[in-house]
Symmetry: D2
Subunit: 343 residues, 4 copies
């Protein structure tokens, strides 16, 4: 940690701060510059609250050197993590494709789509049972009934199921019924939920919040991991910017950034990012090229009658073509691969 | 609702869509333009999901005319709402000032600050018991013990208490112990929590999410109101932008905007917006001038040793000066007042 | 154009507005809804200023249906445009790679790098002579001397040269000396410069402004085209968002968006987007996969001693590897290709 | 400047960098931390390019301590600057109000509005002659004829005139004809223009760019000042964010921030910020309360027929009421005043 004192900060106040910091078991190097005096802290600064230091009226600014996340940090865990779900891997050399409708609507719908996406090569089935909707008057999902239908689709296809949790109250049920528990963008900083999920061993798919920084996403992963659950898969799904031609702005730079900072696998959701079905295909290719460990894609057999997000769902036929292209991309050998050696 | 068809959309497809929409009990006016054909929908379109229409491959764009919020909408409720908390009003002509520390730290701390802010004219005491922190390694609040200390401070001063809830599990306790339940920015779209709070009659202080639009804030208020609880107070606390000199960018334009769109009271949090104690004073004055119904301000008797957010807390002495200025501002009569007549 | 009147707008005021609009040679359809009255305008609305209509106190909102750009619009020019520079094409099926240093530093430097990038397959040489720098105290480029050195490098390698113009005063010289004139992000809305460039026939590389919407980028292209110069190449180079791990956030969704809206070629600048040399490679691959018509990449033979932007420059060796990968990507056939048929 | 080396950076590479930096006449303190080694630079680091250091593959991150602006920096110029225009002051204790139409349309229009705003207490007349418009098909201003009309209005009222320059070619004429030369948001980083303006002695009104940081705004002021012109007035006019209910998001926190960082006067443009006439009044009050040195407000006698930006113009009558309120606000004594003592 580096602390920049205000110009003209009195020497005695600098010493007071220095002594206070030394009591927290760090060494403090004082460098007197022309206009500014700078304190360099050496040792484990992870427990020092920067806000307390910023509250000091003689402090101009504080820069952290160490990241606040430890368990998610590649520095202390150089090798790529691989999350294993019934033998299917997320984070290794294989590409993990999750596909399915925005929301589960009926047994017929979810089973049919599950069979379709499986045939095209999807490894996991997605489908919303509990839906976070901006409006209380929009379809809120089939809820527990939706979970039952997902289980039927899993039985029919063997595909592990991925679905979103919206409340800590449901954890027990989700742990029993579901293969990967998704935390949606709006709950990325629902810390009580994260802590409770950390007490399970279930794989967690943690989506980046609408305006979360890369660091905040990793801190939310740390919440889960610090409670004992290391099976975290991150997901980039677009961030909110001034550009509103697309629903969100897909931040593909986040993939190499996270690969450098963390060992956790990260996948991309091109459907929610763009919010436009005809962008899913090019963005999916880009995501694989940039080095994502997988994709989560909305596929619907009848987008115009979908109860949710039809505008960003592709048909099984388009999905099948896309999978063909993605396979070619993988085979071409140009997909960016990250390892300790090259990040 | 207005639907713009793609250029060259086949006539028969336009008719198919028209008929489908008419089944939802709206009238559809077709206007054939030079390049685009436009459908104008008349009637109650609030139940029509725009995403389904956008999923139609012949549709270029959809514009809503009606807002999706009804109970929070000034159109259907022209007069300003006033939330009454033990006889203290938020939303009327009086200015509601909420003050106190970021987090409750000890009985001595909270009682002393409560007495200080009361003496200066605060009407409510704030203090965090459950704290949403970016890092799992930061101080998480005294939790239920914090609630007990707040109750002591209320007993000593008579100030109603405002504190943040982080999980639906705690609602029963909060309803019993607390006067105003705060929903933090990170939980603004925790819809399960909002629904549960809607089933109580407690006043809810709903903070705007870090990147929530004004419309989304009102939709979250609608979640609470649609379950039966109309005691909602909104709070602008800064939004996330590219500018990072301040912690967030305080969006004071949101005050006149919300006054026009909604009848709900709205207050401003200058402490979290700026994240810098020396900005609280000027921003508080600006917020009152622009027409906010109140303020929520972090006050700490020893900011440098605060367990949380000391960098944005002002001392009781500064708070006292500020209250003097705010009173002068109110007395000058220039504070913007909103009523049906002028919005 | 669709105009939404305020609820309770008096009928006579609606008629006044209707008649005023009809004088501008458009037909006005009035749809009376439950709460809102909507006016649909049919005909050529491109000359109607929306701001005038918004100034009407009885108007709630205005939505445009027609885009304001005509010459850049795919609607009126369905086929992809190809810009031809001495026989080298930007916008066709080939991938146009522009490479070179941020700024020209010396004859030796620019000639050496030019030879290197040519050998690896670059089709154009970039190099800054006039440099827009945030600080007046930073290196401002070799200016006219830099132009001379670029010409030497062109002579040595045959590569057409691409360099940035910063002032309309220099147009004559640039037209004579340069093959593609670049308009930087900070000048994207320097309309006087755009108009002057529109009077030449030189190919213009127009970079997206730091916070320009896709529509604004196309409107700036329209400025150039409306003066008679249709040789416009667009460039996505990252936009400014709250995320500051990267210098900018590369918006790859802009590629399919622009392909749909416009016939103009668009390339990507991964160097300025990320501002981090180690991200250039994965982002370049993603840009090609998503369907960009080319790339502009900063290559320097000694990044640590570069006078400008060394942190985002890759070495000739890395560039050579990247070109190998990009060729494989093109050969794999999965690169997204846009044509009227599929956008 | 503080340089954080990568974990495991070889000692010899750290020494190489240290020696290289020492050659630039700074002292380098090396602090070996647990995981990171940190270099603290002491001395005048303003000439060291951070990008060169970031290009070093062993460097993790670089933090600046010194700001890059010197002439605009309050650190080296503690007292508030006051810009004097024919005896009228911007930056002192008085409030400087600039008012007038978006664009000059006719002699009658500009003279009538000038008289109106003068009567209400405006100290300067604004009016656009050269208009930067997003679309080439929108009204571009009366250009040189507009300048002539402004001069007539000045003669009739005695109000100094403020108008925007769009090209360095026009400087000579503007210096002769105009009292304050405005640089618009889109030209804030048109560095060639800034340099040329720096060679004059004319007062410059420099508007913040649409997505310019506070630091970048000050760096652009530095461009003008470093050429010898210290008569710079800054202007906050809203920044681009995800919120699009308003045209831009007015960033009032920028006022206290800039007062702390710089001695230059800063005014606020509530008209362009909101883009909505009914928000001008509350935002103007807030801007004065927060401590702005003045306001620039669009006033039009017939907004519905204004050739430009009618939707954000207020009538002379409303302006008169607003001036009354602003006077009361100033008299109340609560307006934030900044001086070296309190920033």
């Amino acid at each position: 940690m580096v602390i920049i004192m205000k110009p003209h900060a009195p020497k005695e106040e600098i010493l007071v701060l220095k002594h206070r910091l030394e009591k927290e078991n760090v060494q403090v190097n004082v460098s007197e510059g022309q206009d500014y005096c700078v304190l360099g802290l050496i040792g484990d600064t992870s427990k020092i609250e920067t806000t307390k230091i910023q509250a000091n009226v003689y402090v101009e600014d504080v820069h952290k050197v160490q990241q606040n996340y430890k368990l998610a940090n590649r520095l202390f865990h150089p090798d790529n993590s691989v999350v294993n779900i019934d033998g299917r891997k997320v984070g290794g050399n294989e590409l993990a494709i999750i596909a399915g409708p925005c929301s589960v609507e009926s047994e017929e719908q979810i089973v049919e789509i599950a069979k379709d996406v499986k045939k095209s090569g999807a490894k996991f089935l997605r489908g919303g049972a509990f839906k976070p909707r901006t409006s209380p008057y929009s379809f809120q999902g089939l809820r527990t009934e939706g979970l039952e239908l997902l289980k039927i689709a899993r039985q029919e296809t063997g595909l592990p199921i991925v679905t979103e949790i919206m409340s800590a109250n449901m954890i027990e049920k989700f742990v029993e019924d579901v293969d990967v528990i998704q935390v949606g963008a709006r709950n990325m900083q629902n810390f009580e939920l994260l802590k409770e999920l950390g007490k399970t061993k279930k794989p967690i798919l943690l989506k980046r919040g609408l305006s979360a920084t890369i660091e905040e996403l990793l801190m939310s992963a740390e919440y889960i991991m610090s409670e004992g659950n290391e099976n975290v898969i991150l997901c980039e799904r677009g961030i909110r910017t001034f550009e509103n031609y697309t629903r969100n702005t897909l931040d593909l730079s986040a993939i190499p950034a996270i690969k450098k900072l963390s060992h956790l696998p990260i996948i991309v959701d091109p459907s929610h990012a763009a919010g436009l079905w005809w962008m899913v295909e090019p963005l999916a290719k880009a995501a694989v090229a940039v080095g994502a460990d997988g994709l989560i894609i909305e596929v619907h057999n009848d987008p115009q009658n979908a109860l949710c997000d039809g505008q960003q769902s592709i048909t099984p036929n388009r999905f099948d073509n896309l999978m063909g292209d993605l396979n070619k991309l993988v085979e071409s050998g140009i997909r960016q691969v990250y390892s300790t050696a090259n990040v």
